[in-house]
């Protein structure tokens, strides 16, 4: 009987609502994942909205090392072509042709399509 084996580490993630991604909350100690699950919500989300909880053994997570974080997360700020920034000039062009810009707000609004009878 080794009391030390009681203290297994788990990382706790939660989702606030069906549209939100998982958020890392914190970590806890528990003897197994079932116990970790039953403890997670009241330890970290007593006052928060929550609709889903994940617990993961901390040892299962491959995190970046210090060097990797410093080495692999650097980028030159020259990637406008990946974003809408590069295409801002279109707004004026379309305006001249009396058309609106298909920006994020416009495109995300397309989820509603007019219903046709029959």
């Amino acid at each position: 009987m080794n009391e030390q084996d009681f203290y297994q580490e788990f990382e706790v993630f939660s989702r606030k609502n069906p549209r939100s991604g998982l958020m890392h909350q914190f970590s806890l100690l528990a003897p197994n994942e079932e116990m970790a699950m039953i403890l997670a919500q009241e330890n970290f989300m007593r006052r928060e909205e929550v609709m889903d909880v994940w617990v993961v053994p901390s040892s299962s997570i491959r995190h970046m090392t210090d060097e990797e974080r410093q080495a692999l997360t650097q980028r030159i700020d020259n990637k406008n072509y990946r974003t809408t920034k590069a295409y801002g000039y279109l707004r004026k062009k379309w305006q001249d042709k009396e058309q609106g810009m298909l920006d994020e707000q416009e495109i995300m609004s397309w989820k509603e399509v007019k219903k046709h009878r029959g």
Binding site: M1, L29, A30, P31, N32, I38, L39, Q41, E42
Partner: protein, 258 residues
């Protein structure tokens, strides 16, 4: 007051006092559980349960029985309607001096009581007293977690070391000889059933046993027994001590604003 009304009040006192005593015992445990994370989670259950007691006391207040704090803090043991097993102290010693509390008792009582509360609340959702039915419907979803928590502890400890299995077994034996009055609705029981306020306790006991059998190996085969009947105002000295503690500050000036 007609008998129907007295019966209803008595039932509400049973519900309120059960939850008050369970949450009082839980509040003594705060900070003392065998594992910090389990302590924090347990306290949420305790707070929820005290919130349920407040809900039931409020139903009594609405029926003219007096302020919720008067009902919780001033009624003498003789007037208390909680089942005996729920007032039982957490183990040996005092919570603030030498808390030799027993986690096996917490687990067995937690699991037995929350299972009981669940079948009772389900019955109450169909109560002919509408405010009580509404109350039961509101409490049920929150109470699920309480049962899940204690059931997990029960399952895991039963599958663990010989010491833990023995401690759990001893506490189950003890519960068996002290919890019959959970399934007694007191002197107005017949009226309660006739008026459709709640289901026959024998039926609830069958449902309770069925759930217990799904989780506990080797439940005692003998019938449940009781030391005293809390539903009739019979209580142990454990309740006297509990009431003295929970009303200690309140009693220094019951009319002051605290």
């Amino acid at each position: 007051m007609d008998k129907r009304n007295e019966a209803l009040l008595d039932l509400l006192y049973q519900c309120a006092d059960d939850d008050l005593l369970v949450s009082f015992r839980g509040s003594e445990w705060l900070g003392l559980a065998p594992h910090v994370e389990a302590d924090v989670a347990f306290s949420s259950i305790t707070q929820n349960t005290m919130g349920h007691a407040v809900y039931f006391y409020r139903l009594l207040q609405e029926l003219g029985e007096g302020d919720v704090d008067v009902l919780a803090h001033e009624r003498p043991a003789l007037k208390r309607r909680n089942a005996i097993y729920l007032e039982k102290r957490n183990g040996d010693g005092q919570y603030d001096e030498d808390p030799y509390f027993d986690w096996a008792l917490a687990v067995v009582r937690g699991y037995f009581y929350e299972t009981y509360k669940r079948v009772k609340l389900i019955s109450l959702t169909a109560s002919s007293y509408e405010p009580l039915a509404i109350c039961a419907k509101r409490i049920l979803p929150e109470q699920r977690y309480h049962l899940a928590y204690w059931k997990e502890w029960m399952k895991q400890l039963q599958q663990s070391s010989p010491i833990a299995r023995e401690k759990i077994r001893t506490r189950i034996e003890e519960a068996w000889s002290q919890s019959l009055d959970l399934f007694d609705f007191g002197q107005y029981e017949q009226t309660l059933l006739n008026e459709g306020y709640i289901t026959d306790p024998l039926e609830l006991k069958q449902q309770w046993l069925a759930e217990l059998q799904s989780t506990v190996k080797d439940l005692p085969s003998r019938p449940l027994e009781q030391l005293k009947n809390g539903r009739n105002g019979e209580h142990t000295t454990d309740l006297d001590v509990a009431l003295a503690t929970l009303s200690e500050v309140y009693q220094t000036d019951p009319v002051a604003q605290w």
